[in-house]
Amino acid sequence: MMTELYRRHEALVLGTLSLLTIGILWQAVVSAGLINPFFISTPGAVFKEMGVQFADGTLVENILASLHSFVLALALAAGVGIGLGVLAGWFPDAEAALEPFIWFKYSAPTIAFYPLFVAWLGYGTPTIVAIAFLFALTPIYANTLSGIKNVDRDLVRAAHSFGARPLDIFLRVALPGSVPIVVAGLRLGVGRALTGVVVAELFGASAGLGYSIAYHAQLLQTTKMMVSILVIILLGVVLTQMLSWLEKKTDSWRVP
């Protein structure tokens, strides 16, 4: 019975165990005096500080500030990425015209645009949203493009044999056939939008989890930094899991 239960949840059990081990090691090396807690804090202190920041509202405020930028950036990236991806997937000329920009995006680090955005939009939410938008755009665009472009030829031929018009092929074959791969692109976009938000907040913001890290780093408050880092990780996991769930739901028809 126990072994059966274990086998079914092996990954979960082992993952939890390894996380716990790290936590215990973390506490142990500090307690044994091997590493100064000034550099790495301790799990106990971090959880206590988390409670304090939650109680005084700063944690919620920072989460909401980051989420606000994140949602704006992801919505923009989804709209533009899916829009352009559909366009480029359907019209080869559009793909060729967009190709160089995607090339630049793949080869150049997006963060290099940061000073430019600051010059245009100033420090704060608009710049953060712009950077996170650029971070998230590429996978959403690239997945949508390949979904539309690689529409199953057999299905197109079958549709043609029943007299389908180009718009029918687009709306009834290419678009629905692309949904799972577009959602997979959104899942990748979620992680990258969150990264973009945090990175941009590190450089210039007045609220948010990235701002909180940068702020406490300047004051050498390791424990307070750790709280924001942990929350970012949790946020990333939860958001990505939500998209994974959506991906599974939309992907249910594909042959496993």
Binding site: A158, A159, G163, R254
Partner: protein
Amino acid sequence: MAQIEIRDLTIEYRKPNSDEPFVAVDRVSLDIAKGEFVTIVGSSGCGKSTLLLAAAGLVNSASGSITINGKEVSDPGPDRAMVFQEASLLPWRSVLGNVRFGLEMQRWKKDDPTERARRFIRMVGLGAFSDYHPHQLSGGMRQRVNIARALAVDPHVLLMDEPFGALDAQTREVMGDELLKIWERDRKTALFVTHDIDEAVFLGDRVVVMGRDPGHIREIIDIDLPRPRTAAMLDSDQFAAYRRRLREGLGEDMAAMHMITEAA
């Protein structure tokens, strides 16, 4: 007048990276009467599928013509419906959605498309599986859906491109039997491509034997087996005679194919 008239039909493909056209079908002529079930048999590369695609209006001819009910074929039309190999069902649509699909593409207005689709799903024996998705069905069931989708649009001519090619031998036999039972109801003109000799004889009023390099008609054999055909006929002497004759007709192509399979 024959319902389908194929006159000196030549179909060429342009090979990629080459100016040389590849002749897939070479000056083929064939008349098919209304209500006739014609099977086309030949080894791979003999142009049998290309011929069918041309009749469907999915492939253009280089010269010659195909007319159906006196109208020259240039595009797909509601007078024809095609049954493909199994990969042609929309995987995100249910059985009902797939059978409705052809009706949707043709802007079916004569009666309610959903009700009509349900009727044809029942006809192919899948009434209990309307809400299933293709990946939940067996290969044989998927082909029933494919057949229902084609029949639902009420075509004059049914075109079938190796519809049972991906099925195992037993399922194939059952499906052939089922197809004939359905076909017997209104005897639509049928053109059925296969590489299986038994299937060609069992289903057809006539068997067209095609040869390759380039694809042409080698001979046409009348099958004088009574209808309805039954599985017992497969063991009859008459059937064995047709089988032998077709093997000889395919001759060298078959020998070449066997050598390839044995080498592989």
